[in-house]
Amino acid sequence: MDLAQSEAQQMLRHSIERYVTEHYDQQRRRQAAQDPGGFKRANWQAFADLGWLGLPFAEDVGGVGGGSVEVAILMEEFGRGLATEPFLGTVLLAGALIAKCGTPEQQAELLQPVIEGHTLLSFAHYETDARAGLSTVRTAALRSGSGWMLQGHKTNVLDGGSADSHVVSARLPDAEGGGIALFVMPKDAVGLTLRDAPRLGGGRVADLTFDHVVLASDARLGSSADEMTAIEAAIDRAIAAIGAEAAGLMRSMFEATLEYTKVRKQFGRPLSANQVIRHRLVDMYVQCEEAKAMASRAALMIDAEDVAIERSLVASGAKVKIGRCARNVAEQAIQLHGAMGVTDELDLGIYFKRLLVFEAMFGSVEYHLRRHVELLARSRPE
């Protein structure tokens, strides 16, 4: 057993730390929010040049062949800097699904431009009732000549507005097994309507409507009768990744709060001179450390676990534990900042909103707690 980061992982951490320190601050964040995609293209190109966009992809498709540990290192720093670049949607969801489900030709054609930073992707999966589990898919894929026709509606698509192509899940006709298949849909497909909006805390989010969108036969990723397993795996891994991002968000909120309570004076002494405040800060610190430990654990185990139940237990467990810690750290950070904490002047509010998004994304803490209970019961037959 050795939990030290390798030299390469440490180098990655240093370079991402340095990049985030140099390129993200309040002023640039506010500028980026004015850009159409809600982020700076120059950053994205820099990510590509630094090799970060290819991190989780295999070397034979032009990637770096890294794993969830490397992804977690990136995501934690993205969280600290409140980065809004669409790494999650493009690389970790759509990219991962292409890598998993696509034919070698599709992988070569679609992933190379992603890794080089030339194209952006989104994963369009959730439908109107996003609270439900992953299998609530009513978007239909029907045979149309030699190709396909898609009909339906997707919601909460991360950074869908900036995507050059969308990976879309749709249900196959009963005649073909009725499972879920994945399709690659270009942004200019006829019959595709996209409406997007700013996302809480940064980035953007879109609704996609498919009205008789016709796709060629090679738009379907692979030919598996049901891609639900792949989707579940990609989302489990994405949960581990946003857990690391949340740990970074929490850390920044905590540090700002610690600093503030040392400086802010009331009744002639710093706030932090009060034992009740000090203890609350300690609890926030403990929860930051716990979130980070759980995120590291998830990153290590989510790749190692090839048994689906175990992998999902790791993901849901991380979502619950980190979610609980996040809620407390975020709320206490606002509370200890007093009235300043609820103003738009500080970045604190953005961190708070990002953590709300973390809690809700891919299912709430309660949803994952129930999932954890069910999976645990299944994994421990009596």
Binding site: Q5, K262, A293, M294, R297, A304, G317, L376, A377
Partner: protein, 398 residues
């Protein structure tokens, strides 16, 4: 980075498992499983310690030259895990994990030669004389006096919360040898024979009815000067060293894992009418499982750092804080699992010895006293409030 064990570590694990299978009897397991105090009954521990001592496995943290096995941090974790998993009794930490490391670090050759082998064999049973009435968390204010008189110190005063003083033949104590402006500077670390004239032990019963702790009175007790550890007036330093060992030197998650498994098994059994079928119980168990996984991983990170020869930093207070809270959460959910059956109060001990037909099973009976005794977890060894003060000061710079 890797969470998996190397082939050597796996071989070691198998070796430990074989040993346990050969030497831990079903009776010992059952008695351990039904024991409700923090420290196992010395009569239960003795044969297990003897078996471990034959193998040289009593003190995993000691250097080999003093009778330790010379294990890596990972091996120690594996050993702890396997013992907890199998339901082996916990050896008393007071000799092995507390006074032993202090003697190894600060003791004279004569003290080491005399005491260390007796700790390993279990011939000596130690208790800790730190707290006093009025000097609990504010230990520096302690008042028990040791006045030099020729070749002896004359000790007078009282110690309280002394776990297993009624079983111990020796005590390591912090005593006041002078009045310095800084209270800490007048404290010395003294080894006291419990059969010395002038010592009286008063039992203090826990709310469960268990007799674990005592108040000890010293009435002009004569202690040879040779029983002073290190220098006179430096006891505070040695005591702090010991506390850090107590908090950070050990690993807690294997024990907690075993405790959680026990509750989960009870919840899944007919003894609790399958309490696990209730979502609120199952969800609570999952949340505790996740808290425990987090602690476990944090402990493994510390082990991994130690194994690389790094200093893990002042993380021991964080681990103590969370371990004690998780311990209480486990015993608390146990109470929820037994539900209305908690109403039967059984004060006879040991529970494993109760042979007649009982209103509820010994497994169910053990739950409440374990919960009651467990409330002490966030109080002893430095209360949670003290741990938070330490973290605030040492980690957050407040």
């Amino acid at each position: 980075m890797s969470l998996s064990f190397t082939p050597d570590e796996l071989r070691f694990r198998d070796e430990v498992r074989e040993f346990i299978a050969a030497r831990l009897s079903p009776e010992m397991r059952r008695a351990t499983s039904l024991s409700v105090s923090f420290f196992s009954d010395p009569d239960l521990v003795a044969p297990w310690q003897a078996a471990l001592n034959e193998r040289g496995w009593v003190a995993p943290g000691w250097p080999a030259e003093h009778g330790g096995p010379g294990w890596t941090a990972t091996q120690r974790w594996i050993f702890e895990s396997e013992c907890s998993r199998a339901g082996a009794p916990q050896l008393s930490p007071m000799g092995i994990k507390m006074v032993g490391p202090v003697l190894i670090r600060f003791g004279t050759p004569a003290q080491k030669n005399f005491y260390l082998p007796r700790i390993l064999s279990g011939e000596d049973r130690w208790c800790q004389g730190y707290s006093e009435p009025g000097s609990g968390s504010d230990l520096a204010s302690l008042k028990t006096r040791a006045v030099r008189d020729g070749d002896h110190y004359v000790v007078s005063g009282t110690k309280i919360w002394t776990t297993h003083a009624h079983f111990a033949n020796r005590m390591f104590a912090l005593v006041r040898t002078s009045d310095e402006p800084r209270q800490q500077d007048g404290i010395s670390f003294l080894l006291i024979d419990m059969d010395s004239p002038g010592i009286t032990i008063r039992p203090i019963l826990m709310i469960s009815g268990d007799h674990d702790v005592n108040q000890v009175f010293f009435d002009d007790v004569r202690v040879p000067v040779g029983n002073l550890v290190g220098e006179q007036g430096r006891g505070w330093t040695y005591g702090k060293y010991l506390l850090e060992f107590e908090r950070g030197g050990g690993v807690n998650s294997p024990k907690l894992r075993a405790a959680l498994e026990k509750v989960r098994n009870l919840a899944g059994s007919d003894l609790s009418h399958r309490a696990i079928a209730y979502p609120e119980i199952a969800m609570r168990l999952s949340e505790i499982e996740l808290d425990l996984q987090t602690l476990e991983f944090a402990e493994l990170q510390v082990l991994s750092a130690l194994q690389r020869g790094e200093n893990p930093g002042p993380v021991s207070s964080l681990l103590k804080l969370r371990a004690s809270e998780i311990h209480q959460a486990i015993s608390r959910v146990g109470v929820d699992v037994v539900g209305q059956n908690l109403m039967v109060e059984e004060r006879r001990r040991p529970l494993a010895a109760l042979n007649e037909e009982l209103l509820v099973s010994p497994e169910v009976l053990s739950v409440v006293p374990r919960h009651l005794n467990g409330r002490a977890n966030t109080i002893f060894g430095g209360s949670s409030e003290i741990q938070r003060d330490i973290i605030a000061k040492q980690v957050l710079g407040l």
